[in-house]
């Protein structure tokens, strides 16, 4: 726009995948972004498409059509929907700030609802696994400095976390590992992914058989004999060789993704992976870092845990926190048809949840707080447009490894569009003034 002076903001933190890349340079004026440098392709797309597909006005469904309305009316309708409901679900949270999530917990307690975040369909099983097996982990810099063995299992960082290998693993430079040749990369997956193409060893495992392979590795690592010739499609000699590499390295790092959490076994797979790493610590130094996918899913777990004691799937309907995934988790509660209203913040469950859950979700009133048009916003009763964290609003986020960062505002949001934290605060105030009794 003519007359607006342009500037370059440095050390900008990207809010997409949770790698927390914080060396971005964004050229912008007060309202628009010209260019983004240093980020990966997804990051550049995120910054330069910031204005595309935006919801620009609050919307309320009247006579079956979503129509623009005032902010006050949208807040009022949202508050009424949530306070009337007996079993409201407050879902999403992984793509917004900790400050907003904190408001979400407060609102869930106020209306007596279920608060769950995208962990429930992502690394929830990892958390369930660590609740049994613990976790030997570290911040990403430790891997960069020290790791001579890197394993990617059931994840494809070239596609999901494009700068992971350059910032933290095989292409990174650390105090004690300065070159690629000082590290070995093993990739375990069902396909020869683009990440596997970079590996020193690629191990193709049969789908749904990771548990057996992990257990076989644990057996070998603990010095016991394997009896079968091949496990999960992997020959015994290969398993034994992999076990030797793991035991003999100086500092090993296992990164695993949804290939473990989403397949048969789920949390048992995660538990097996976590147990394997724990066992390896008897022989050498080994760490595990699950590949979290959204820029603040870790933050959603952290805030939920320090405020309620539990990381996701928290039921506050009884006036105190209860946790029982499978029962108090979003997909289950929806599929059972018990939820009678939903608040969705920065997420698109209509697109991503299984059909049985979506079928019910589409029958109940949905309040969506979201920057961009999605199938969930299109199916809602109330839609309130929100500012994008790390671009149009400042907020605290947590990286994959639990390092907290302040993702700062770079440009103004479109006129009338507010940060999530403000919107949720307004819903809380309106709900209180309506006199919710629980």
């Amino acid at each position: 726009m003519r007359g607006m002076s342009k500037t370059t903001s440095e050390n900008v933190i990207c809010t997409f995948c949770a790698s927390g890349c914080d060396d971005l340079e964004i050229r912008h004026d007060a309202r628009d972004i010209d260019s983004a440098r240093n980020g990966c392709a997804i990051s550049i797309s995120r910054f330069t498409s910031v204005k595309e597909n935006r919801i620009l006005k609050p919307l309320v469904r009247t006579r079956r059509t979503l129509r623009p309305t005032t902010y006050a009316r949208a807040i009022d309708r949202a508050a009424r929907i949530l306070s009337k409901a007996k079993y409201p679900l407050l879902y999403g949270w992984s793509q917004t700030s900790c400050e907003a999530i904190s408001k979400g917990v407060e609102l869930a307690e106020l209306v007596g609802g279920l608060i769950d975040n995208t962990t429930t369909s992502c690394h929830g099983p990892t958390i369930l696994g660590l609740q049994d097996a613990g976790e030997a982990t570290c911040t990403l810099g430790e891997v960069r400095h020290s790791a001579d063995l890197i394993i990617y299992w059931g994840c494809n960082p070239i596609h999901s976390h494009p700068h992971h290998t350059t910032r933290f693993t095989i292409f990174s430079k650390g105090r004690f590992r300065k070159a690629r040749k000082e590290r070995r990369l093993i990739v375990v997956d069902v396909r020869r992914t683009d990440t596997a193409k970079l590996a020193d060893r690629f191990i193709q495992v049969q789908p749904n058989r990771d548990y057996e392979l992990l257990t076989a590795l644990r057996t070998a690592v603990n010095g016991e004999e394997l009896e079968q010739d091949s496990i999960a499609g992997v020959p015994r000699e290969v398993i034994e060789e992999l076990a030797d590499m793991m035991v003999e390295c100086e500092f090993g790092a296992l990164f695993f993704g949804l290939g473990l959490t989403m397949t048969a076994g789920k949390h048992r797979n995660a538990e097996a992976a976590l147990s394997l790493v724990r066992d390896l610590n008897y022989a050498t130094k080994f760490v595990v870092i699950p590949m979290r996918g959204w820029f603040n899913v870790t933050g959603a777990n952290e805030v939920s845990t320090w405020q309620t004691g539990y990381p996701f799937a928290v039921d506050l309907t009884q006036g105190y926190p209860r946790f029982n995934p499978g029962d108090t988790s979003a997909v289950d509660a929806l599929a059972r048809g018990e939820v009678d209203a939903a608040l969705v913040v920065a997420s698109d469950p209509v697109s991503h949840f299984p059909k049985a859950a979506v079928k019910h979700l589409l029958k109940i009133p949905i309040v969506t707080v979201e920057p961009k048009r999605t199938p969930t916003s299109e199916a809602s009763e109330v839609v309130i447009p929100s500012a994008i964290i790390g671009i149009e609003a400042t907020g605290t986020i947590y990286r994959i490894d639990g390092v907290p960062l302040e993702a700062r505002k770079v440009i103004d949001p479109p006129a009338g569009v507010r940060p999530d934290v403000e919107i949720l605060d307004a819903i809380i105030k309106r709900t209180k003034s309506l006199g919710v009794r629980r």
């Binding site: 683009d194 290939g259 697109s351 949840f353 589409l362 048009r373 199938p375």
Partner: protein
């Protein structure tokens, strides 16, 4: 033959992530997620052409998507459908008490369906309501 049995996995892809940022109602997004990546040998066995539509059916639903030759092969009998509204037509809502639905490792049948159309995002949502 015009049908094969596979295991379906879903996940992120670069193009899915990039196009998602631009907007879920864009053609670009639909092109990057309403797709099923197959091992080249599986494509041959199915007899499908690159870009031709196929029907993917699991025990929980079915969807028409475009077939594409995978650049991350070999993976015989594994089909990759990126995260998105189309993939989720196939998922198992049962979480086996973990809270986690099954989004990977689903048994599926893929059939050639060159005359069928890929649904739009709105049509997909409507189908989920049925």
């Amino acid at each position: 033959m015009s049908r094969i049995e596979v295991t379906v996995i879903s996940g992120r892809s670069l193009s899915q992530a990039q196009s998602r940022e631009r907007g879920k109602f864009s053609d670009e997004y639909a092109r990057s997620v309403a797709v099923c990546e197959l091992d080249p040998d599986d494509m041959n066995e199915l007899g499908a052409m690159e870009g031709e539509n196929v029907r993917v059916t699991t025990g929980f639903g079915q969807v028409i998507v475009r077939a594409a030759v995978s650049k991350q092969a070999p993976h015989r009998r594994i089909a990759f459908v990126p995260y998105g509204a189309w993939a989720s037509m196939l998922f198992d809502a049962s979480t086996h008490t973990s809270g986690m639905p099954t989004l990977k490792g689903l048994k599926a049948i893929i059939e050639r369906a060159p005359e069928a159309k890929v649904a739009t995002l709105q049509e997909i949502t409507n189908m989920k309501a049925e």
